[in-house]
């Protein structure tokens, strides 16, 4: 399933003192099965863009097409679009409300009219794909789980709607290193096993570099850069001027190559960086 965005424009508080152009002529295409990262500092328009992709916000001008179907005209069945494009907000655990994990995960599919055995199966699958033990967890209260588990239950609640695109806004914010790793491997699993297109918004450049096929950089409501992680992150001066980081591995490599003649590396991950260092040591000998 693909998402195509054409010349999107959105203004907050039009005509009032707080008027801000949140999106300014944004166009982009996301193809099936991709894992796309969106980066940009707070207020660059990322969240506004995400909310256009499943029809939560209506643009002032421009169009959004989901699988060729325009969702920005008035006739679209928004519930169906929201099923196909799952959106997981920041700190999604704050949306939990049911007494048991199973009931909470079932909220989405029930809204879509799924019932009976099929509902049970869907819920079970969703809980399992986020890496939780269905039997162990199904009847517990979501409020008694740990932070990382709560978050996974909330994500399962969106996956249970069987979306073909999953948008995650800062899915690892505030988690400890272990829970952070678990969420990342869960996202990869969802992308690979379920063949769900992933759109990942994160401030963690290491994660973006490691996970994504393509990166989109936003600033002041515009897309300013777009390309493969290596193409993006090697423009570190530009990123820095926008207040963005580079992946830690690249940052270290940059510092080393500044001090040592003949050392070059464009490694994005620590593994690549380690290879480059080993290579360099070998050559030196």
């Amino acid at each position: 399933m693909s998402i195509e965005i054409k010349n999107l424009k959105y203004v907050y508080n039009p005509g009032l003192p707080g008027e801000t152009v949140a999106l300014d002529d944004v166009s982009l295409t996301i193809s099936e099965g991709e894992m796309v990262g969106i980066i940009g500092h707070t207020g660059s328009g990322k969240s506004t863009l995400l909310q256009h992709m499943n029809g939560l916000l209506k643009p002032d001008s421009g169009h959004v097409f989901v699988d060729g179907e325009c969702i920005t005209d008035d006739k679209t069945d928004l519930v169906d679009i929201r099923r196909r494009v799952g959106l997981v907000f920041q700190y999604p655990e704050y949306q939990l409300f049911e007494e048991t994990v199973v009931d909470d995960v079932a909220f989405g599919p029930k809204n879509l009219g799924i019932e009976g055995e099929e509902l049970k199966k869907t819920v079970r699958e969703a809980i399992e794909i986020v890496g939780l033990d269905y039997e162990e967890i199904k009847d517990s209260s979501p409020f008694e789980l740990s932070g990382g588990m709560k978050r996974r239950v909330a994500i399962a609640g969106v996956i249970a709607m069987r979306p073909s695109v999953l948008i995650l806004d800062e899915p690892t914010a505030g988690l400890d290193p272990t829970a952070h790793r678990d969420i990342l491997s869960m996202i990869r699993r969802i992308n690979e096993e379920k063949e769900i297109t992933i759109i990942l918004v994160s401030h963690n450049m290491g994660d973006i570099a490691k996970m994504c096929d393509r990166v989109i950089v936003m600033e002041n409501g515009k897309i300013v850069l777009e390309g493969r992680p290596r193409e993006i992150f090697t423009q570190d001066a530009l990123l820095e001027s926008m207040g963005l980081d580079v992946p830690p591995a690249l940052d270290i490599m940059r510092k080393i190559s500044k001090s040592i003649d003949g050392f070059t590396s464009s490694a994005l991950t620590l593994d690549e960086a380690a290879e480059d260092i080993k290579e360099f040591m070998k050559r030196k000998k």
Partner: protein, 280 residues
């Protein structure tokens, strides 16, 4: 601050904290032992990080240090005053300021300067003196220009700086930062970390609880908690020199150290300069 001859500022002895809940028969029962027999000292002017997984007891421990939580047993002394001593509780809390994780939920007043004044107002400080303290605290966190703005108009990083100013206005000797950067974006994170380091340079005893290893690494000492117990306590280089220790606590190496190990470089290299030296 100079390392030598520093006095102990906070001392924790055999601290035990239990979380209990009331069961169906109306009796209290033990749910978890949040802090389990922890002892350590913190020296005046030092910079200490506390790390550990979620649920390892970091926040609970922090809240014991200024008497927000009363332990089941054990002692906490702040500059010689016991936190059990109710008469000195306000004294202790004004000396040990605290900045919490959520920038929104610790700001009391709608306007920036009124919020910063909240602490000294509670302490009954003279209005003229409060004004002075508020202005200087706001300047210290570089938010003086925003003093008459509405708190809800600020970014997360700015709100967090207001919270730091709020603690500073009490003229504390120590500030505990409980995951102050967890909810911020990279820009806000950097600003807050820079302020934390500056304040420590100015002599404020700094206790930083964090999930980010590259932040913890900047302290002179790291305390690791695991399941409420003191798991490790030492210099960052000692801790990050020991991969087994780090992984045992469910944590991760800072990127630089991780890279060193993956490249097969010796453990003696702990900074980027060390690694550059090795490669030269």
């Amino acid at each position: 601050m100079k390392q030598e001859n520093r006095k102990t500022f906070i001392s924790v002895r055999n601290l035990i904290v239990d979380f209990t809940h009331v069961n169906e028969e109306g009796l209290e029962e033990l749910k978890t032992r949040a802090i389990d027999d922890v002892s350590f000292d913190i020296e005046k002017g030092s910079f200490v990080s506390i790390i550990g997984m979620n649920g390892s007891g970091k926040s609970t421990l922090a809240k014991c240090l200024n008497g927000l939580i009363m332990p089941k047993s054990g002692e906490v002394y702040v500059d010689g005053l016991s936190t059990y001593d109710e008469e000195h509780l306000w004294d202790i809390r004004s000396r040990v300021g605290m900045v919490f994780q959520n920038p929104d939920n610790q700001i009391v007043s709608s306007l920036v300067e009124d919020d910063v004044a909240f602490g000294p107002e509670n302490l009954g400080v003279d209005p003229v003196e409060i004004r002075k303290r508020v202005d200087s605290a706001l300047k210290q966190v570089d938010m003086y220009d925003c003093r008459d703005k509405g708190a809800h108009m600020l970014s997360g990083g700015q709100k967090q700086r207001i919270a730091i100013a709020g603690a500073l206005a009490m003229r504390p000797e120590c500030i505990i930062f409980d995951e102050p950067t967890a909810m911020l974006d990279p820009k806000g994170r950097k600003q807050v970390m820079n302020i934390i380091k500056e304040l420590n340079q100015e002599g404020i005893t700094t206790i930083l609880i964090t999930h980010y290893m590259h932040e913890a690494e900047q302290a002179e000492r790291i305390i690791v908690l695991k399941d409420g117990k003191l798991y490790s306590d030492g210099k960052p280089s000692e801790l990050f020199g020991n991969r087994r220790l780090i992984e045992g606590a469910g944590l991760e190496m800072p990127p630089l150290i991780d890279l060193r190990d993956r490249s097969g470089l010796p453990e003696s290299a702990t900074t980027i300069e060390d690694i550059i030296c090795l490669l030269k």
